[in-house]
């Protein structure tokens, strides 16, 4: 038997979906009510192991966290209708202070340009810099490596620490590089981690703006890990897949979509999938 599915209104726009495709993560600060955060922390005191699966049987948790309108709305936007709820729960419970963890991607990571599941994290307590928030490398879901070949990396210039208030949830593409950051504070840091799964074929049924002009968009981040435009090209391919337009996308090279240009032309950009041409209002 598989876990239940769930549906709710999508909350993300075209631009937010594009940004997620490029960056590989999205932080939703403080979206869970304080009462639920307190209850979760209390539950995790009682179930203080690494896999507190019993919390999945708590209706208050399912309703306020797993089906949280902001978080589930983002999941709905990215995984489509009737996505599958988590069937496993992990808690990265840390007694601070601790040194930074080694950089890694989680076991089972693969590289492709599709999105069939999301790895989601929830901080039930305030997690400022001193409590070792998870650090991610934006765009690293497009950077090939293996966990055991990235353990010599330490400080990364464009790494982002997800310091956030209690009740924050952040969504990630599974293969993003991440680590527990160094903590200098005292106390326990809980970090719940769980996955949602797609059950329906991808289509552009989030808060899409049919007049959105995808031509000449500045999609690339300019992060120095990548050759010019390469992360934007990866993000565009993933975005096109999410739109259900995989068959229409073929990066031909040169200045075709999604390579951006300083001077926007008045024309539709060469290579833009027809399904993404703006519809007249």
């Amino acid at each position: 038997m598989l876990p239940a599915t769930y549906d709710c209104p999508p909350t993300l726009s075209d631009q937010q979906i594009l940004d997620f495709c490029r960056d590989g993560y999205l932080v939703l600060p403080g979206v869970v009510p304080e009462e639920i955060n307190r209850r979760t922390v209390a539950f995790l005191e009682e179930h203080n192991g690494p896999q507190p699966d019993p919390i999945l049987g708590e209706e208050w948790f399912t309703e306020a966290v797993l089906k949280n309108p902001a978080a589930a709305g983002a999941v709905r936007s990215l995984l489509g209708a009737h996505f599958r709820l988590p069937g496993m729960m992990a808690n990265h419970r840390t007694h601070c202070p601790q040194p930074a963890q080694k950089w890694h991607r989680d076991g089972g990571s693969i590289y492709n340009r599709r999105l069939d599941y999301l790895q989601v994290f929830y901080y039930p307590s305030d997690t400022p810099e001193g409590m070792g928030p998870t650090e991610v490398v934006p765009g690293s879901h497009f950077v090939r490596s293996k966990s055991n070949y990235m353990r010599h990396y330490d400080c990364i210039r464009h790494g982002v620490r997800t310091a956030a208030p209690a009740g924050s949830i952040f969504l990630t593409i599974y293969s993003i590089w991440h680590r527990r950051g160094k903590s200098t504070g005292e106390g326990v840091r809980n970090l719940l981690k769980y996955n949602y799964w797609r059950t329906t074929p991808p289509r552009r049924d989030w808060l899409a703006d049919l007049a959105f002009n995808f031509s000449w968009i500045h999609l690339s981040s300019g992060r120095p890990t990548f050759e010019q435009f390469m992360d934007g090209i990866g993000a565009a391919e993933l975005f096109t897949w999410l739109c259900g337009l995989e068959q229409e996308y073929h990066f031909q090279g040169g200045q075709c979509w999604p390579v951006s240009a300083i001077n926007r032309a008045p024309y539709t950009q060469e290579g833009l999938p027809v399904g993404l041409w703006p519809h007249p209002l």
Partner: protein, 117 residues
């Protein structure tokens, strides 16, 4: 071992020997400086394969231990690979060209230089 410090100490010993002032302690200090010390390694990931490219990642192994690098990149001791070379680090591995076989794939954090002292 610091070759520079050893050279200075030996020069001092030589001068004192010529003056008839060489003491056992002078030689003992030279011997101490000649003691082997663990290799120091510096991993620098740069945005390009040129040594004047900006560093985007850094890890330091010194004194036989992994050292803590400042979290703020602006506080890193070297902003380019060339900065490290000027500080006496020697490059022992240049960025791996074999990673360029697949032009549409990005492999690894950047152009990685490995340096030692």
């Amino acid at each position: 071992m610091s070759v520079d410090k050893l050279r200075v100490q030996l020069q001092l010993c030589l001068e004192r020997f010529r003056r008839g002032e060489l003491a056992e302690a002078d030689l003992a200090q030279a011997l101490a400086l000649a003691e082997p010390s663990p290799q120091q390694l510096l991993y620098l990931q740069a945005g390009g394969s040129s040594v004047d490219s900006r560093v985007i990642g850094m890890a330091l192994i010194a004194g036989g231990e992994v050292q803590e690098v400042p979290a703020d990149p602006e506080q890193w001791p070297y902003q380019t690979v060339l900065d490290a070379i000027r500080a006496g680090w020697r490059v022992i591995k240049f960025p791996e060209l074999a990673l360029l076989v697949h032009p549409d794939q990005t492999i690894g954090l950047g152009c990685e230089f490995v340096l030692e002292k």
